[in-house]
Symmetry: C2
Subunit: 337 residues, 2 copies
Amino acid sequence: MTRLTLDQAHDLAKSILLHNGFSPAHANAVADTVTAGERDGCASHGLYRVLGCVASRKAGKVEADAAPEVIDQAPSIVRVDAAGGFSQLAFQAGLPLLVDKARANGIAALAINRCVHFSALWVEIEQLTEAGLVALAFTPSHAWVAPAGGNRPVFGTNPIAFGWPRPGREPFVFDFATSAIARGEIELHRRAGKAIPEGWGVDAQGQPSTDPNVVLDLGAMLTFGGHKGSALAAMVELIAGPLIGDLTSAESLAHDAGSKSSPYHGELIIALDPQRFLGGATEQHLARAEQVFESIQGQGARLPSQRRYEARVRSREEGVEIPEALYHDLKALLEWE
Amino acid sequence: MTRLTLDQAHDLAKSILLHNGFSPAHANAVADTVTAGERDGCASHGLYRVLGCVASRKAGKVEADAAPEVIDQAPSIVRVDAAGGFSQLAFQAGLPLLVDKARANGIAALAINRCVHFSALWVEIEQLTEAGLVALAFTPSHAWVAPAGGNRPVFGTNPIAFGWPRPGREPFVFDFATSAIARGEIELHRRAGKAIPEGWGVDAQGQPSTDPNVVLDLGAMLTFGGHKGSALAAMVELIAGPLIGDLTSAESLAHDAGSKSSPYHGELIIALDPQRFLGGATEQHLARAEQVFESIQGQGARLPSQRRYEARVRSREEGVEIPEALYHDLKALLEWE
């Protein structure tokens, strides 16, 4: 393993992206999120993603110097046209106006359009909780997941994320796929020649299957939580697709045309301001929310992001470790071709 | 079974509520929702609920002539103080301003406070989809459900409902508890002396239990979908509790003090206007949403409210049937004591 401080990790990511043609603004915004992923122990959203960024650029699937355009769509709606660039810079561009609108009106929405998306949603959610706001985020992905009772993919892994500000503490944040499991997890089982647990996918006839090849190539993945999870996946498909005038997971997969790049589509973020709901009683009611967290943790159950925050404390002190092979692959992207 | 036309069902509910001291406005609003439940084949939200309404009144747990107060809280927030009355009239009171704000600003929220709540959320959601809006609704209930990894109740059955308008068709609507199953379902198993399936609840040590007595009296119910469902239940607890300055499920159960009445707390509804997101392209993008529904139904999977809409068509033609015993119990509430 190779140990890096968080600054070194950020510099490495940023210099690779710059060297491979990304504008300074994009290089910085992407380096921020992959460093945050590595820092929080989420290797799947960490430095490893820089390899994919460069590959997407070489495949012509992302605009390396797209300038996001912020549109004041309605009193409580901000729209950002990412113009084919990565989502991170588009989110940064829209964030100040989203925060202003939520604070002025109580609730506001940010619709990001035409972005290439691979970021974990909690990175964005935490920027809203830091501003004292409650936040929700939704995005489709590529159509890999069948509806409950079906046998053919319609939904993406369609994540839902939520954040609640906790004064003086890390926020309450969750961010999960509405699929039963990440697609990458099924791919790992295929590579290892191992069966997958029941509940992850179905065959072409819609029957439960534990064969990763069947689920990935012939049948479909399943949502978590049966028909309830399937209903939520449909909701994400609708509100982060047609509602914001952007692609569904099926349309995004068709657009990808087999290049295996990150999805190209939209994202919906909703921000609510406790101050506008509660006025002078905000502090008192946020304190009541703490009782909910205490009754969860007081019985030995965990809050959703607890492991991530523990990793964060460690990484700030000790830096992060990445596999030697990954470090060499990343370094190779700094050489002139 | 006793057969009633929908008008007869509505008249019966309304006259019982009037006879038992509810104001005409409350009697009418409650009769609307219980008739809708009966019509859609949801007996558990049908005429049977009128018995509970009268019992709640006799127990002093609901204000029978509360006049909801509508407060223009912020440019995109309506608040309604239900003043201890049933939620239905409070929702009716807040609906016009919520629709206005959503249409003007793109997204808006309705917070209902201090209401006694037993209504299905889809009844409210459908009034928003009828206005062409996308809608979400959340409410806590009584603390019966443990967090994932825990053994003590923190959450209510905390339903989430969603609606999407479909021009010329019944809307796409779902409305489900974040608990694995309704509490009433476990009570039915207890009465029948039957074991419950694994996954519905835990014992006092947090171990899976199939004994309804253990789950109801000593342990706790579980959420659907493991830690993901548990995270969603926590979200409902927060955004429809402290965010709107109202009771959590634990506080609502304490307030009930063993009377077994309907929960007394708040509700959060969010409405989004596709016209403000999409402008002139609204029709085109709503048509793209229809492709999502077609790819679900085209593979033989069902949309969430399909059974309800089928029952609705039948009930409009043939009326509804309720058990003779229920009919007699209801009729008895029309006699002078």
